[in-house]
Amino acid sequence: MHAHDHHDLGTPAVKGEPVTLEIDGVSITVPAGTSVIRAAALAHRDIPRLCATDTLKSFGSCRLCLVHIEGRKGTPASCTTEVVPGMKVHTQSEQLERLRRNVLELYVSEHPMGSCPASAGCELESLAAQHGIRESRYAVGTTARAAHMPAAVDASNPYFVADDSLCIVCSRCVRACEDQQGTFALTIEGRGLESRVAASQRQPFFESECVSCGACVEACPTGALLEKSVIAVDQLPERSVRTTCAYCGVGCSLIAEVSADAVTRMVPDRAGRANQGHACVKGRFAYGYATHGDRVTRPLIRERITDEWREVSWDEAISHAAAEFKRIQAKYGRDSIGGITSSRCTNEETFLVQKLVRAAFGNNNVDTCARVCHSPTGYGLKHTLGESAGTQEFVSVQQADVIMVIGASPTEAHPVFASQMKRRLRAGAKLIVVDPRAIALVKSPHVAADYHLRLLPGTNVAVINALAHVVVTEGLTRDDYIADRCERESYEKWRAFISDPKNSPEAVETVTGVPAALVRGAARLYARGPNSAIYYGLGVTEHSQGTTMVMGIANLAMATGNLGREGVGVSPLRGQNNVQGSCDMGSFPHEFSGYRHVSDDATRGLFESMWKVQLGSEPGLRIPNMFEAALDGSFKGLYIQGEDFAQSDPNTAHVTAALSAMECIVIQDIFHNETAKFAHVFLPGSSFLEKDGTFTNAERRISRVRKVIEPLAGFADWQVTMRLSNALGYAMDYSHPSQIMDEIAALTPTFTGVSYEKLDRLGSIQWPCNDAAPQGTPTMHVDQFVRGKGKFHVTAYVPTRERTSAKYPLLLTTGRVLTQYNVGAQTRRTANLAWHSEDRLELHPHDAEARGIEHGDWVGVTSRAGDTVLRVEITDRVAPGVVYTTFHFPESGANLITTENSDWATNCPEYKVTAVQVVKVAQPRAWQRRRQEAAPAEPAVSPN
């Protein structure tokens, strides 16, 4: 059922010309195309209903919403009748009341009233109560549903239960699964009174195609589909808090329902602009990690990393950390320490960490984990279009005619946006997938790619150049647009470069492995649009030419005029919830918030006068440079907020050596992790449920995070940073994160108009939000590019150094699965484990056969950097010569084998291409077995 504080309007909002009609004598104006039921709800004349809800298209099956319309015969259903100017609707009459009572009595005759665990929220029960119906005159003998269709309760899904005896066959679940989620796992089976909901081929939910998004559960008006957590508490929530999901870059707006200071349910916010009332298995269900027993709730310190941890008071931990940092700076110099911000933390917290580094540490040694994923996006887009961010709003995809997905698997990593995209594809948009792997979008129910350019890993730039070559040489460019909006000189130069036959699809065919004809077809499709939109993910950025590729994408979009309006654009699909925000907030060593270079005197002056300190004008160290400096002995202390290098950075051996070389690592996190093994101070972090703040999602949307429960360790992360700063002698004094946001707004031109008050009022805001755009900016570059004229960059393809050889004949690429998140610290501590309990290596049948490998075998994966053992899955989702794995589990050691190669411009590591050999082995490596047995890893802590 929907959130308890939601006023359901019956059918979704539509856009249209205003239409004025009269409902029970009340005049109301709504957009054309609105249903009568919605117009009535807006006029506060709610009409009874059971099959309608405002996330789903009307269906007209319950027949409770019948009304009179003057001049029309009979009693039309108000959910399926559209408003007409001057229409006069009557929602109440004796006849209507009689009909509604009869329909309710029919329902009640088969429904076990009062006995369902959701009674308190059951729409049928509350409607019946409103009409004073307790019993049904139609209950002739045994008419309960369970009596004629006995079915076991299906509790196979870890999070929800399906109980057919409570089902009223409204099809809301089926429609939610189709329209909202796009998975098509549910159907109504049987006819007449025997109709019932079936998952896939009448399978238990867990074994069906269901991806556990929960849309059906929320859509269900009764207790037939119900969260186990709701059944467990069996009461209406005490309060609801609107907040923002802390998993992926979609940034779903969620309503946390709370009883007895525990979250009982997460419901997607139907007013959420990003998620439009939808969520995925992670956001909706996998929040239990926040209160998992593994949470570290007391500060810990130790002298050496070989010592046991000692629980200490907050004061001791903070002063110890501050003293260590001061000692190190005194001994090794001001630049010998630094800080790392987290894409998991709020904007305010990130801002504070970089402020701490710049103002209290007195250097610019701050960096962020976005380095490992999307820094090429920032750099590439800034230098072409002028702004380091995606150009669109998610809903823009509904206007796209052609969608190109490059190096991303939205159904796994950005599932809620994938659902929106699939809806558009079902409505007829064309799809081009550029990916080494047959991602789910290539073929899924009612969606199929028109082109799948199945390139070899590492050849992105060659493919994007070939696409652009076709556009330019076949005269498909939008010359008027280019002349108007782009730098002429850069265009001419690029044009000459790209027209070179060496960039033609035919010329690069052998390099990329993509048949030239497919490239040509896809290029024509994209160029003809008329609205073509590109969405890309880590498969674009995590390459040695990541930045080049981003620029290549921008070039293609500019050349075809696909920027600056709805339905088009270049949209990075950000991996973590606040990658965008952490970049915006000045997490990079060379930039203040709003992407302004530290060497810019005016900007620095602004910060200096606000912060009352002198700031460095030279960029600080990037993460890889910090590691190098650590190995050199010149970098000794690091404050890490919510990041696990040792697991998520490539080439783990190099990272661990660097970490071991430091004298004081202060880690702030909610769980022990790989990096914490090298730490000297552990400051307990707070989960997103425990604090106020904001996240900025992949569409530049700033959304509020609101405190749902008190911080388990007593302090929110921003408070901890503040205390550390004060202990270091640099005063910070905030009593609420809203004050930090006010400071951000005062210092950042793209945030000038942002405040908590406005966020509360508007729900969310897409930056830039300032005097020029007081409501924020859904679409960027509308009249002109942010940098003035768009700039084309020559994007020569340079093959990666990572190449296959006789010794390493296969190319490994990496990715994500839906149910797990990133390094899995959260999701592994939830029931999501049921779906994905280990990382597997995908191997093409040919390659498997050649190696005598069978499905489920253990295989050794060896690269130039190292080796690990994984279980194998044989599938043609990967092409011959390509292997693929996820890296959600530490014991997989996927990053032991990735190399040190990285993007030329931003050092973003090349996770996506590693030459490997795969051989059959008997069992995992000894360290992996120990890891598996010990999981979840809780290190020894001495009681003081």
């Binding site: 009307s58 269906f59 007209g60 099956s61 319950c62 027949r63 409770l64 019948l66 009979g74 009693t75 259903a77 399926t80 559209e82 006849q95 009689r98 009909l99 009869n102 329909v103 029919l106 329902y107 005759s109 088969e110 005159r137 139609y138 002739v140 003998g141 008419t143 066959v169 099809s171 159907t187 109504i188 049987g190 006819r191 007449g192 009174l193 025997e194 109709s195």
Partner: protein
């Protein structure tokens, strides 16, 4: 004997075949060969006099002389008696066209039924076939639609919606792709006009669909055929093949440059799939569940494209309207029911079969003059008109003319034209129960009044007949309330029309409850 072979006609209609027509045809051929008679046996459709099937006709100089019902064992005797010359016999019916049952009918839609070889396009052409299409090709789409509108033709599938208006809606849609979907699901028990036409004169349907396609700008037609009609399927396929070969279908219909083709799709075997939106779902390969209207199929039909959905009889009537003019057709019938109606007489009746005549024949004329009363010889107590969801009429109302408005005034309907006769042994409470049970069995399950209400109706009637007198009034009132809820609340005609038989039984035969 010299000269042309003797021409014999034996129906291949599955109604006739079910009473032995195939055996008769085969034995007739064997017997003629044995006797050295040069005979050509043409397998036609049925004339619709089912009590006379197998009805064998012989071409004689005086016309086609009929014999029936002929059993295989009768053949040697009939040949001996001179059947091939039209000689007298107990089974001799005389000139079939002048048979009282046939003579008084006005066969327009079914003009060729039983006359022509359904597998022979030339036979069709020599009986006025494709004149309608030729006429249509000389007109603009708008003019064709206007002719249909002017003819007063209303849908014969049940809802009696004006066909011209429906076509016009489709014509006005700007879509690039439109469809013609022929509803050949013929689910009403006791009806067979669709089947007879498809088996006996398939080209009429094909021609009608082609005209419809050209009129509204559709290039593809589908015939959604009842699964129980394998013979119709074969006949249609063979006819479609010939029509394509001869250029009546395909990329360039009769050299007009227009495209139209037809595909036969087999139904899903559910009554509800005859309801047009459910049929469209089924045609799209989905579960046959009713769609909400609006949007109308004429605006968003098959695959969401504008679609004309018409019944077989409706479409098979189109050629005669185009060939002979709207006025000609409109002159038949009465009131707002123009043209002819194909009434299908069945149940406990002496002479069952197809009666096509102008609207306005009374129930009495149909049941007694054509039907000859009950087969059992007992008095007629009731008829049910319009299929399983039609109302029952008591004998006292048999003066009602069979036309849309008069029946509507009686809370009855004509539906697809089925009329089922019952004698005085019928228990009307049982019939009312049966109506609910039928609805429960066939309900698609989408809407609540029908999904749950139909079963509750059965349960209420079961209780009613066993409950003490005192409780009955309340139960009867509840059944009436249920009927109101189903009639006013149901999404489609299945639930919406179930109250017709129930209420009419309660109203006209209170003594049975």
């Amino acid at each position: 004997m010299t000269g042309a072979p003797v021409r014999l006609f034996v129906p291949g209609d599955s109604g006739a075949v079910s009473v032995g027509a195939d055996t008769v045809a085969r034995d007739l051929a064997i017997e003629c060969r044995r006797r050295g008679i040069d005979a050509q046996i043409v397998r036609t459709g049925s004339r619709g006099m089912y009590w006379l099937e197998p009805l064998v006709e012989v071409q004689t100089p005086e016309g086609r002389v009929g014999y029936g019902p002929v059993k295989a064992g009768d053949i040697p005797r009939l040949l001996d008696a001179g059947m091939l010359e039209g000689a007298v016999d107990d089974l001799r019916l005389g000139d079939v066209d002048r048979h009282p049952w046939m003579r008084s009918q006005q066969r327009l839609t079914g003009a060729r039924l039983g006359l022509v070889d359904p597998q022979d396009i030339d036979d069709y052409l020599s009986h006025g076939g494709y004149l309608g299409l030729e006429a249509a090709l000389s007109l603009s789409p708008r003019e064709i639609v206007q002719r249909i509108t002017d003819s007063g033709l209303r849908g014969r599938g049940g809802a009696a919606f004006p066909t011209g208006i429906k076509w016009n809606t489709v014509l006005e849609q700007p879509a690039a792709q439109k469809y013609i979907a022929c509803n050949a699901d013929e689910g009403d028990s006791g009806t067979f006009a669709d089947r007879m036409l498809m088996e006996g004169d398939p080209f009429a349907l094909i021609e009608g669909m082609t005209i419809a396609g050209i009129a509204v700008g559709a290039t593809q037609g589908y015939i959604y055929l009842r699964i129980e009609y394998p013979h119709a399927a074969r006949t249609l396929e063979a006819a479609l093949e010939q029509a394509r070969e001869r250029g009546y279908l395909g990329d360039d219909v009769l050299g007009s440059g227009k495209t139209f083709d037809i595909e036969v799709r087999r139904g899903a075997g559910a009554y509800i799939c005859g309801e047009e939106t459910s049929m469209l779902e089924s045609l799209q390969g989905r579960r046959g569940e009713v769609r909400v209207r609006p949007p109308l199929p004429a605006i968003k039909g098959l695959f969401d494209r504008p679609t004309v959905v018409n019944n077989v009889v409706t479409l098979a009537t189109v050629p005669v309207i185009l060939a002979r003019g709207a006025e000609f057709y409109r002159d038949f019938g009465m009131g707002r029911s123009r043209g002819t109606v194909m009434l299908q007489l069945a149940g406990n009746v002496k002479h069952g079969g197809l009666v096509e005549c102008g609207f306005g024949l009374t129930v009495r004329e149909l049941v007694h003059r054509y039907g000859g009363g009950t087969a059992t010889g007992r008095p007629v107590r009731a008829v049910q008109i319009g299929g399983p969801l039609g109302a029952y009429l008591p004998a006292s109302r048999f003066d009602t003319p069979l036309e849309y408005e008069a029946l509507a005034a009686m809370d009855a309907l004509l539906g697809h034209g089925g009329v089922v006769v019952f004698d005085d042994s019928v228990d009307m409470a049982d019939m009312a129960r049966h109506a609910f049970a039928f609805c429960a069995l066939e309900s698609c399950g989408k809407c609540t009044p029908c999904r749950i209400g139909s079963t509750r109706g059965v349960q209420l009637l079961d209780r009613l007949v066993t409950s003490p007198d005192g409780a009955r009034a309340a139960d009867k009132a509840l059944i009436e309330e249920l009927c109101d809820t189903m009639a006013e609340g149901s999404l489609c005609g299945l639930g919406g029309m179930t109250p017709f038989p129930v209420r009419s039984a309660l109203r006209h035969f209170p003594e049975d409850f």
